[in-house]
């Protein structure tokens, strides 16, 4: 067999705009999912036993079932009860809910790594609860688990390809479309794989730069 990448050229624009869709659904799912994850952790470790059990159950259920099945439940299941989501929203909702469960576990490790001494120091200084949480607990916790969050972000980006199965027009979906138009299977799959790989690499690089900008303060725990 022979390879010919020229057939793919007319589709370059489509491929790149699909890549952009992949990136923005991943970013939305990461940002909203992380906020939800912090709430899940607070609910799980909080005083109310029922809320704590509910949050634990949520985390365990979402971490122990496949993303694809969660996606099917949202995309095919919700319309039965009258909630119709288009593929984009179904994909974003599924990725967000799934990501929140994993990120909640990452944040658990992060919050547990904050030494109680500095929290007590903050209390002794008379900080309000909100200030204390934000500056003394949340930021150091995020800094400690930032590499794990980056890893989760990259995994989420790769997992966003699963949304192609319900027809969300992201990168994987576009790859399959182009395959149907050109029959250049090997070529488009290799280009698509390379795109995922390169963008994931860029995310890793960007994260390292962001880490030094955001968390450059104080003494680094992990050199």
């Amino acid at each position: 067999m022979t390879f010919f990448y020229g057939d793919l050229l007319p589709f370059a624009g489509q491929l790149l705009s699909a890549l952009w869709t992949s990136v923005y659904i991943t970013v939305i799912a990461m940002v909203v999912g992380s906020a939800f994850a912090v709430l899940l952790y607070l609910g799980k470790s909080g005083g109310s036993p029922w809320l704590s059990r509910l949050c634990s159950a949520y985390i365990e259920v979402f971490r122990n079932t496949p993303l694809l099945v969660q996606l099917y439940l949202i995309y095919f299941g919700l319309p039965v009860v009258g909630i119709n989501l288009n593929p984009i929203w179904a994909g974003i909702v599924a990725l967000t809910l799934n990501n929140a469960a994993y990120t909640a576990e990452i944040y658990r490790a992060g919050f547990e790594s904050v030494p109680p001494g500095i929290v007590e120091a903050g209390q002794a200084l008379g900080m309000r609860r909100g200030t204390l949480f934000r500056h003394v607990i949340f930021m150091p916790a995020t800094r400690n688990v930032f590499p794990a969050l980056t890893n989760q972000f990259i995994l989420l980006f790769l997992a966003s390809s699963i949304a192609s199965i319900i027809g969300l027009p992201e990168l994987m979906n576009s790859i399959l479309n182009i395959n149907n138009h050109t029959y250049r299977t090997f070529e488009i799959l290799s280009v698509g794989g390379l795109l995922y790989f390169v963008v994931a690499g860029l995310f890793a690089l960007g994260s390292r730069i962001a880490e030094s900008r955001l968390f450059g303060w104080g003494v680094k725990r992990h050199a």
Binding site: M1, E60, V61, N64, T65, P66, L67, L68, V69, Q70, Y72, L73, F76, G77, V80, V81, I154, L158, A159, S161, I162, S164, I165, M172, I175, L176, N179, T185, F186, L189, G192, G193, Y196, F197, A200, G201
Partner: protein
């Protein structure tokens, strides 16, 4: 012909669950063997072997499983037109490739986690590379491998749902068929999710039990551990 969700559907889903288990068991074992080889290459004294293994692992870990699945599905018949593989075999190949690079990374990390002193002691005893691995490094590395490997096995079980796209009837695909037959996606996929939950939660409990069962495992790799006086005098 629509019918309501009944016992026969649960039976069909259970059969799908068995296929999922078979798929993950076979590709888990093959992936462990292949991953072991790649992991050894990534820690070998040969610079070329290290480079090739690391490049392979880095690349395959950076692309989605779906790409690997479609590569196996479309690519193998293109490269080997005479070979006709079943959907099961294609799925096993894709999941094996996927599993091998993740497990190779786990092996590499575990081998590197064996304290440097152990390697040097083996060198001092004059052991060759193979004997050093066989008697000194690998027995210790294997204990470190188990917890992350079980974590990956759980991920593999969940990710195996993706082979539904090439038409292999495992648990998720059985769910799609049942959902179409009964027009009851909520109940069907909830049962599918319950099956996955039981399998994955079961495996993770098994892993936790294994870790608690062998408290000495941590001490085995603890560089701080001093040999007891009894051991020193006895040998």
């Amino acid at each position: 012909m629509l019918r309501s969700f009944g016992w026969q559907d649960i039976e069909a889903l259970a059969r799908g669950a068995l296929w999922t288990l078979a798929l993950c068991a076979i590709s888990g074992v093959l992936g462990t063997l292949l991953g072991g080889v790649i992991g050894l290459a990534a820690t070998s004294p040969s610079r070329i072997a290290r480079w090739v293994a690391t490049a392979l692992v880095t690349f395959v870990r950076g692309i989605p499983l779906l790409i690997i699945v479609f590569f196996a599905y479309f690519g193998i018949p293109l490269l080997f037109p005479d070979l006709s593989l079943s959907a099961f075999a294609t799925a096993v190949i894709a999941l094996t490739v996927f599993a091998s690079v993740y497990l190779a990374e786990i092996f590499r990390g575990s081998i590197n986690a064996v304290p440097r002193g152990q390697w040097e002691a083996a060198d001092a005893l004059g052991l060759g590379y193979v004997k050093k691995l066989r008697y000194v490094v690998l027995p210790q590395a294997m204990r470190i491998v188990v917890p992350p490997a079980i974590g990956f096995l759980i991920a593999l079980i969940k990710d195996s749902s993706l082979v539904t796209v090439i038409g292999f009837v495992e648990l998720t695909h059985a769910g799609t068929i049942t959902s179409n037959l009964t027009a009851n996606p909520i109940l069907t996929y909830s049962v599918v999710a319950a099956f996955y939950f039981v399998i994955c939660y079961g495996v993770s409990r098994l892993g936790r039990w294994y870790e608690q069962r062998s408290p000495t495992d941590k001490a085995a790799v603890d560089p701080e551990e001093k040999p007891s006086a009894l051991q020193l005098e006895g040998v």
